[in-house]
Amino acid sequence: DTVLRVFIGGPAQRPDLFRTLADRYEASHPGIRIEIGSSAATSELQRKYLSVLLNAHDPSFDALMLDIVHPYQFATASWIAPLDPYLGKEKEALLADGLPIYRQTNLIKGQLYTLPAVTDAMFMYYRKDLLAQYGIAPPQSWQELEAAAQTILKQENKPALQGLSMQGAPIEGTVCSFLLPYWSQGKEVLNKNGKLILDKPAALQSLTLWTGLIKKNVIRRHVGEVKTGDTVNTFKAGNAIFAINWGFAWNVFQNDADSRVKDKVGIIRMPAMPGGEHATCLGGWQWALSNYSRNKAQTADLLRFLASPESVRFITLQGGLLPPYLSLYDDADVQAVIPWLKDAKPALLGARSRPLTARYAQVSDVLRISTSAVLAGSLTTEEGLEDISLRLERILR
């Protein structure tokens, strides 16, 4: 028997559902056995784990499910292998149906390295009930959001209630916090060739937006220590009017037994900067083929199966995770499972990829640390910007 070992990081990536798929695959492919391995819940720990294995050229995993920020590095390090040789024309079909952004993220130096497994993005959650109560329409720009939050905060007058909850601790989510308004101004950090094209005024605008909101108490002062989970809990407890978070949070708000915002949750696209576009941060998980796999062809075939729209449809229906294929957004069954799908689609269409570079880890560190420090007030916006640009220049020189 050929054993194919698939790495599916943690419980959030639903190895249980993929097991069912694997069973199906085994049934139709005699002689192939599939084992699913996992390590820890967070992307950070999974990366730690994988980097040890792959650094040691370990063949124990054939297929890897990776956080979308990782493939570029892994490919540069030759830890994962391109899929082109195994896919042929199917490659085009998959890319065509996938979210447009995947053309950027999955093709590395022209080769297809990953296939989408699950998609995700940053969304703006809001309290439908509160906005409705005060007759406020869901905000389309940050100014509107600020106004809405201030009105409601004043009216409600609850000390625990926050205007906007977002991530400001030096974690990966804060990279998005920096990029959201930056992208909204139509700017990128890197050009297509991986050269730094940081637009300082736009970056400054971006940071100033947050410090402004903090000053006006729409965002709490301690945002510098807020992590993704804190935002979830705050909003879930009914203590935030707006919250920026990944798509998974919707299930928590809507389905958790102790949620206080059940049926009061709305989703909108990320507000835009003045005159800007609605841009959001792409997340999700990708399939990749380990370069140290001893069964590359079989694994590629398995990946094709796992990444096929049919399989994704199954996962989506069973797990309520956002599908990476556009066709599924019009699927009635899927819409039934994910009621907010129609709100999610426009946001996803505006999704941007975080900088694609082999040195993403450093880039991410710079962005998150400096942004967090600015949000925490230990650096001024100017100092923060200076720090960001100097360091990025050094890293990407």
Binding site: A41, L53, A56, G173, K227, G229, V232, N233, N239
Partner: protein
């Protein structure tokens, strides 16, 4: 007059310092997620429930983690004690050339940040075919604890009056017998302490455990408990419950054990 209350204050501070976090964990384990998100925070659980404990046991094989951790910690502790006993005895009681060099090399083992050793360690363990087994952890843990255990044991061996060991040798013991039958029992507090140090080192360790032993069946506790968290959420109540299950019995067990180790073991042996 002023000194007495000062001493009691100091004692109280130390006690609170020791207990508070564990107590907080205990309280948290009876709270709900939502209660934690409240401001101002609550101290006592509003609606105490054992739900988190149920979750702790049903969401992940907590007992399996406990068992794994226990096995790994115990075996590595025994291995450490075995190796450290020999080393400590050699360093303190036998004539040895390059003693200081050996000593410094031993201590130096503790001076490399483990993170940088991770990849080569993985390669070694793979070479030994130990990846994803207890062995992959037992060996490095034993090494990690070896320096401190050796020095602790050595400082105890040195406290054992030489004449007691001499008496044993006159009674017909080889040095080895004297070590195991006389010196070691008389160093019981030291052996025990070294044991706890090694045990808890192993019990605590996360990084190696994650990298070298990720198989679901042999995962240890710190790695296992982190599985309760979501990708972005950290459910303190359930994790607290798991921690309580993991820590409190262990700590009490150790204390009970420790209470049985009498102090002043060598009194009555020597005149002078």
């Amino acid at each position: 007059m002023l000194k007495l209350p000062l001493r009691w204050i100091a004692a109280a501070v130390l006690l609170i310092n020791g207990f508070f976090p564990a107590l907080w964990i205990l309280l948290t384990s009876f709270k709900s997620d939502i209660e934690l998100a409240q401001t101002p925070i609550t101290w006592l659980p509003q609606h105490p429930s054992l739900n988190n404990y149920l979750h702790a046991f049903s969401d992940q094989p907590l007992l399996l983690f406990l068992g794994n951790s226990f096995a790994v910690a115990l075996l590595s502790t025994l291995l450490t004690l075995f190796a450290a006993t020999g080393a400590a005895y050699t360093l303190t009681r036998l004539q040895l050339r390059h003693r200081d060099l050996i000593l410094i090399l031993l201590v130096a083992v503790a001076m490399f940040p483990p993170a940088t050793l991770l990849v080569p360690l993985f390669e070694i363990m793979r070479g030994l075919g130990l990846i994803n087994t207890y062995g992959a952890l037992i060996l490095p843990y034993a090494v990690q604890s070896l320096p401190v255990c050796t020095l602790v044991l050595a400082s105890f061996f040195q406290q054992v009056p030489k004449d007691i060991e001499n008496a044993a040798m006159l009674d017909g013991c080889t040095r080895l017998q004297a070590l195991y039958r006389i010196v070691l029992p008389l160093s019981a507090p030291g052996v025990f302490t070294a044991g706890i140090l090694a045990f808890v080192n192993a019990w605590d360790e996360f990084l190696l455990a994650l990298a070298l032993n990720a198989a679901p069946g042999s995962r240890t506790l710190p790695v296992g408990i982190l599985l309760y968290q979501g990708e972005f959420t950290f459910p303190w109540p359930v994790i607290s419950a798991a921690l309580v299950v993991a820590i409190v019995p262990l700590a009490i067990l150790i204390v009970l054990f420790q209470e049985r180790v009498i102090s002043g073991l060598t009194t009555g042996g020597i005149k002078g």
